[in-house]
Structures are given as structure tokens and as C-alpha cells.
Amino acid sequence: MYPRPLAPDARMQRGVYMTIVAVILVLWLLPLIAVIATSFRSVEDILAGNYWGWPKSFAIGENYIDVFTETAMWRYILNSLIIALPTVLGVLVLSTFTGFVLSKFRFPGATLIFALFVGGNFLPHQIMMIPVRDLMVRVELYNTYFALIVFHVAFQTGFATLFMRNFIAALPGELFEAARSEGASQFQVLWHVVIPLVRPALAALAILTFTFVWNDYFWSIVLTQSDAVKPVTAGLANLKGEWMSAWNLIAAGTIIVAIPPVVMFFLMQKHFIAGLTLGAVKG
């Protein structure tokens, strides 16, 4: 099996290996390191053009407090949660239904419907920008939470359906036959057999959807305008205008925004990894 572990006594090889790993790691993390470093700097440091050097003075506390006191950060974060959590719920519920039906029932048009779900993923978002904004204005949802919730649910469900369909299709068919022969209705099969067994997949899907919606910038600026509903990604961009060169605050805000998906990943890591390997260890 490759990669083979290096022999403990091959010092030379070990040294080279560790160096390469370290270099790649630093390169990989460089943008993040830069953002973290910037979030620690004082305004003077940045004005002096010291972007990469050791900070002359640390302003960690000030930056991280200021980003909450001087901006509408709380409001933005709350907006993001108000948009992301219902979206995740909606996507999970809908894709469980669609995935179940598309994996276990044969009916005319099933393939076409599935193709539509999958095909939707291949549409470039940019070409939908104007029609979707137009639509939201007309149905009077523009610049509301619902604009983003409805849009994200609609478009995340496509991928989520593909995902759930494949997981449910991988469950042993005899389980469904057993439940049916015991008199369970299709809804009971879904509730008592399918959902408990695809919980890892649901957890994985929840993380993916949450991260996508939380990190979305494009649709946030297309479908919202006011600070009252703007999610945090779009809100952060506002800081650029209000605080001309307050990169330290933007950096601090960025770090804070990055935390929830990371926390969520760790919380659900167990399920997530189980979800990725679910198909391999059925039964």
C-alpha cells in the first residue's frame, strides 16, 4: 500500500519529507495567516504599509471589540443565521423526500425529474442573476430574508437530491421489502427506516449546505440591500466603504465569520466522516 511509511532510521529522508510538508503547509495557509496577522495589527501599522512584518503593536482586543461595537456585525451575523438555518432545514426535508422517491419508486418521468435536479447544478449562477432579482422584486420578496431563503432552498435542493438519492439507493433493498411486508406505509418506511439510516448523510448535507449559504456573497449582494437583512458576507464588504482602510477590522470580522462553519464541522465531524463512508460499510 502507498504511501509507505518512512523507516524511522532514514533520517535524511525524514528531514526532507518534514521540510516539504512544512513549506507546503505554510504556502497553503499563507492567506489565512495574513488575515489573522492583519486582524492583530493596529491602524498605524497598516497605514505604515507593514502588511507582512511583525506587528509593531498588537491591537487584538481593540480590533475584535471594535468590529462589534463600531459596525452592525451582530445584526449581520443574526441575519446570516436567520437565512442559513431555515435554508438548511428546508433543503434537508425536501431532498429527503425527493431522494427517497427518486431512488425507490419507478414512475414515468422519474429520470427526467432527476435530470432536472442534477442539471440545475450546472447552470452558471451569473446568468440567473438578473431574472432571479427581477422575480424577487415582482413577488415582493426582494430585500427580505425570504428572498435568500427561497432561492437557496430551491437551488441547494438540486445537489442535495442527488446526494440523498444516492445514499438512499445504497441502502439494502430487502430492508424496504421487509418494512413493506410488515405493513408499514411509505411514510412510515421513510420515517422509521430511511431517516435513521441516512442520518450521517443528513449531517454531512447540513454542513455542506450551511457552509455554502453562510459563505455566499454573490446572492447576498444581488438579493439584499439594507443592513437589516444583509447577511454577514455582504455586511463585511460594507466595512470597506465605511472604514476606508480599516483592514484590521475587516480581517477581524472575516475571522469571526469563518468560525461558525468550522465549529459546525467539528461538531458534526463524527457524522460527516461516517457519511462519506456510509456506502462502503452498509449492513
Partner: protein, 398 residues
């Protein structure tokens, strides 16, 4: 016992009745018109080679496969278009199909929970089934904590809990190792005696069929070849397929041409051997001289002879392989240029089963003898031409 049950059952509706059951997948027809009536309390084993349609037939009875045409009646009720849960059946699957996230007790009570039976009733039913199968101490475990045999018991327990009219088993023992399979076979027979329910059991294992069935149904490419009690089928196979299918080691077949025909005898010239043999036969009117027939002899009806014996015909052969099974010995003897058909060990090879320990060196010349009355004759279309014999005696050598 069986007879009295069937006498009583004569006045009652049949437990399961299949009427011209047919099933097509596209243009491929899997079941080509099956008619079968099963009495209450029977243990019917459906057996046949892979692809014969036995599992599809079982799923059709369960309602998991829809019929192309025909009717299925359970207890006199037409269930052809009913949901599986409303048919009064319970199915035990090859893979056990236990719900992995439920405990043993939850697995067993699932069916009753789904139809909203009261909690107390479910507990009583689960408790009873667990006691019958001796898994009372496993009730709180998850399926993955159980061994294969225990999982199998839970799967059966789940069926018992629903107290169905008919139990359906789909190759339930094929995932178990040999010794456990023997044990479960005995337990299943015991369970059948204890519950007295109708059981339909699908397997490809003829030992299971022979040992457990009150009646065997032999299926081949979507049609019933023969139905009957195990020993009856063994002694009086209706055709060449059934003769070749039942019995391990398999029946030996070789070809012979008709030399002369009388009312109850045919004299055959063995193809590839300078030998004419006179066999008892029925329905000889249809035979004509020169026609090729198939002769079948079970391995236990062949014996190695040291010298010619009166009443036995013998064929010269050489020993190719000797298998010592302890109590018995299986000889593979080459009688070419005589050709055997579909032999397990190659063309021209006879399988001989000796109920003693015998030793031969490779290539030893022997004579394999048999009584013509123990042989079976098959016409060109496969139908049996030999006279009926009593089930259980089978016209043995002794």
C-alpha cells in the same frame, strides 16, 4: 398426522392458492403459469436451479412483486392486488433484513407498531416469540452485536410476532456456515411443528428441501416440474430434470438405443459399450427400435463388483478418484468410450457411492454393477419410462 390435517383442510379454503400465476419482466417471462394449492399447516419447499423463478414466486405471494397475470388466494381471499402488509404473510429474508438502528425487541415489534397495536400487546407478542426462539436475553442488543445465527433467529422472531397465516422464507439459511445451517434446519422443523402454520420455503439447497418439506415443489425456468413428498420425488421423478436435480451425488446418466421393445420391457444397446441390457419399462408403445433413450442410475445403486454376479449387469471401468467421507466412499470410475451426460466429474465418468470404506489405486480396473430394476429410463422428451416404485425403498441393490 399429515393425512388427518389434509383431510380436515379439505373442507376449509386452501391456505395458499396460486392460479395461473405469471410474471414477465419486459419480454422476459420469469413465471410461466404456476398452479399450486397449499393446505393449512403444510411446509412447502420450492427448489430449483438459479433463475428458475422460485424467489420471484415467493415475492409474488408476499406482494413484493406484482403479477403479469393470474391470481393468488390466501385463506380463500383474493390478495392479488393487496398490499404486502394486508395479506397475512410474514417474510424472512436471506440477508435477514434487520433494521440496523433498532434493538432486537424493536425489530421484532416493528410490524405491530406500524399497524398501531397497543404497547402491551406488542410486548407480549415479542416476549412470546423471543421465548420460542430462546433469544430473551438478546432483546436489548442491536443486530450488529449478534452472530449470524442469532440474527437469523431475530428475523424469524420478527415473523412470528406478527402471527401470520403464512410464513415465507427466502433462502434463510444460505448465509450461515454448514454446522449452524444443520442446527437451524432442525430448529425450523421444530418451529413448524410447534406453530402449525403454513410455511413456504425457497432454497437451492436440496438437503434443506429433502429434510424439511412436507411437499417439495421443483421449479425449472418458470414452470413447476413436479410436486410431491420428498421421498416420493426421489423415488419417482417424473422426468429427467427432477431425477438429475434431486440427489447428491447426482444421478448418473448415459445414453442407450432401443434394440427391442416389449409391453413391459425394453432392451437397450448402451452407446459406447458392447452391451445390451433389458430394463423394465412402462408406456413402451411410443418407443421405436433405434431410438436413443437416457438411462439414469443413482450413485447408491451402483456398486463395484469383483466378479460378474447374477441379476446384475456390469460395465468395465477404471478408477479415477476415490473420496473417503468416513462412513462412505465415493468412487469416480471412468467407463469411456461410454459417455455419461452432465456428470459432475466429466464425460464417461460414473459416480459410485459405497456405504463402506473401500480403497482402490488410481487406474485400477473394476466392474461397476447395478440391477436394471434400480435404473431409470427417460424418453427423448425427458419423461420417465420406468415403472413406479415404492417411495423409500427405491429398488436398492440389496
Amino acid at each position: 398426522m399429515n393425512r388427518s390435517i389434509s383431510e380436515i383442510a379439505g373442507s376449509l379454503p386452501k391456505s395458499v392458492e396460486l392460479q395461473a400465476v405469471a410474471k414477465n419482466y419486459g419480454t422476459h417471462s420469469v413465471l410461466k403459469g404456476i398452479d399450486l394449492a397449499i393446505d393449512r399447516g403444510e411446509f412447502v419447499v420450492m427448489v430449483g436451479p438459479s433463475g428458475c423463478g422460485k424467489s420471484t414466486l415467493l415475492k409474488s405471494i408476499a406482494g413484493l412483486a406484482t403479477l403479469t397475470s393470474g391470481r393468488i388466494l390466501i385463506n380463500g381471499r383474493d390478495v392479488t392486488h393487496q398490499e404486502p402488509g394486508d395479506r397475512g404473510i410474514a417474510m424472512v429474508f436471506q440477508s435477514y433484513a434487520l433494521y440496523p438502528h433498532m434493538t432486537v425487541a424493536e425489530n421484532m415489534g416493528f410490524g405491530l407498531r406500524m399497524v398501531k397495536r397497543p404497547r402491551a400487546e406488542i410486548d407480549v407478542a415479542v416476549e412470546r416469540a423471543a421465548r420460542i426462539l430462546r433469544i430473551t436475553d438478546q432483546l436489548d442488543k442491536l443486530p450488529r452485536q449478534l452472530s449470524g445465527g442469532q440474527r437469523q433467529r431475530v428475523a424469524i422472531g420478527r415473523a412470528i410476532t406478527r402471527s401470520p397465516e403464512v410464513f415465507l422464507f427466502d433462502e434463510p439459511l444460505s448465509n450461515l456456515d454448514a454446522s449452524l445451517r444443520t442446527q437451524m434446519r432442525v430448529e425450523l422443523s421444530g418451529l413448524h411443528a410447534e406453530l402449525g402454520s403454513t410455511m413456504i420455503y425457497v432454497t437451492h439447497d436440496q438437503v434443506e428441501a429433502m429434510t424439511m418439506a412436507s411437499r417439495i415443489v421443483i421449479l425449472n425456468s418458470g414452470l413447476i416440474e413436479q410436486v410431491g413428498a420428498p421421498l416420493e420425488l426421489y423415488a419417482n421423478p417424473r422426468n429427467l430434470f427432477v431425477a438429475g436435480f434431486l440427489g447428491a451425488p447426482r444421478m448418473n446418466f448415459f445414453q442407450a438405443t432401443v434394440d427391442a421393445v416389449a409391453a413391459d420391457t425394453v432392451i437397450l444397446q448402451v452407446v459406447g459399450a458392447e452391451k445390451t441390457i433389458s430394463f423394465p419399462a412402462v408406456d413402451t408403445g411410443s418407443l421405436s427400435v433405434g431410438e436413443t433413450l437416457t438411462v439414469g442410475i443413482r450413485p447408491e445403486h451402483l456398486a463395484p463388483l469383483d466378479a460378474p454376479m447374477p441379476g446384475r449387469v456390469d460395465l468395465p471401468a477404471t478408477v479415477r478418484l476415490v473420496e473417503h467421507l468416513g462412513r462412505e466412499t465415493i468412487l469416480y470410475a471412468d467407463a469411456s468410450p461410454l459417455t455419461t451426460i452432465g456428470s459432475e466429474s466429466g464425460t464417461g465418468t460414473f459416480t459410485v457411492q459405497v456405504n463402506a470404506v473401500v480403497s482402490y489405486y488410481h487406474g485400477a480396473p473394476i466392474r461397476i454393477g447395478f440391477a436394471p430394476s434400480s435404473a431409470y429410463l427417460f424418453a427423448r422428451d425427458g419423461r420417465t419410462l420406468s415403472p413406479r416404485r415404492t417411495a423409500g425403498s427405491g429398488g436398492s441393490l440389496t
